[in-house]
Symmetry: C3
Subunit: 153 residues, 3 copies
């Protein structure tokens, strides 16, 4: 199955790539490595939730936010490489989770992002991951994801 | 215009590279990729500000701090590669912003860093960026920047 | 001296590689670069300490936690490449330190990780480093380390 079949199977649609809110770009290339800018949990021009996980935002909602952020990153990747089937490997993903002081479930939130990558990309989606707890994130997003992708030559 | 012309035009001078405060180095090479250590907002041996943005530090001051940190990173890059004109591309920049719990303007702070990179390096300075909010940063710096640079062969 | 001699000299043993707590892998390859997943301060199935540095955890204990996290990362690296003597260079290490709001000694904590890398690997262990302060980390670990390693071809 192609990645677009997988997306359809789940009823998911890649969003349009939004313009960065600053003097940077959504992706850069170095050889066959694609460096993606951090993506927050924005859908249709609005965050799906705002605040810290373990505070205003539940872990379950944050998992969904992580999925939304991953879809934004994949939309950028598709834009850069033409087709997500050309992904050789997601090399690294850092999942930044805005966290209330006592919240230590960053891994569970990040699983939302990881599970979606593996569902959509299979073995190519299996990445090295770091999940960490932040004081806060841009515009109040509960999650931001940063991907580094190797593309088939 | 060369990068050094651009620096002069702005009245900016690259600082001397300071010795790392630990058992590490300011930069490492892998092929044509230069990995730079995180740089804080140190100028002439002192931080230009200390504390969290949205708390003791205003977003405007933090933008300046981000510029100072970028200049420190570029000084390291010049030291490693001889001339900043040999930068092919700033591949990735992560901007860590020490943030009061309710501060969500990390992108605006990071724009200080991004705008300076693009001003000095033109298209080569356009990077994939992540801006995130930290509980705190070394020695109380309001900003720390981490760059990954591709150098012309 | 080989890396295993160095480990023995210090009375250190590389731990078994633990299964990731999610849909990801401990390491990925892109060419000769090995991207390692974040590692926390887990030893024999338990964290060596829990909480924030500058709060429940002292900087000295956190230094030890940083060493433990590095050993976990090196165990993964050995598993991936067969022998740690094949490390060409630790290109980058990010040291995430769970920090009480007023704690700004992240560099000292990170020195625990850096010193151990250089002790074990010599010049090959000298890395570009970022040390940053987090709101919290998975399962309450005081430290998480993320390494990017270049391997000899």
């Amino acid at each position: 199955m192609s990645v677009s079949d997988r997306l359809e199977e789940r009823g998911l649609v890649l969003p349009a790539v939004s313009r960065p809110g600053g003097n940077y770009v959504p992706a850069t290339w170095v050889g066959d490595i694609l460096f993606l800018a951090g993506q927050v949990a924005m859908r249709d021009g609005e965050l799906v939730a705002t605040g810290r996980v373990g505070g205003e935002v539940t872990p379950e909602v944050a998992k969904t936010a992580a999925e939304v952020a991953v879809l934004n990153a994949l939309a950028v990747a598709q834009d850069a490489i033409g087709s997500l089937d050309r992904i050789e490997r997601v090399a690294r993903m850092t999942v930044y989770v805005a966290s209330a002081p006592d919240f230590t479930g960053q891994s569970q939130v990040a699983n939302g992002a990881s599970d979606l990558l593996v569902y959509l990309l299979g073995e190519s989606g299996r990445h090295a991951r770091s999940a960490v707890g932040m004081a806060s994130l841009p515009i109040g997003s509960p999650v931001e994801v940063e991907l580094t992708i190797q593309v088939k030559r």
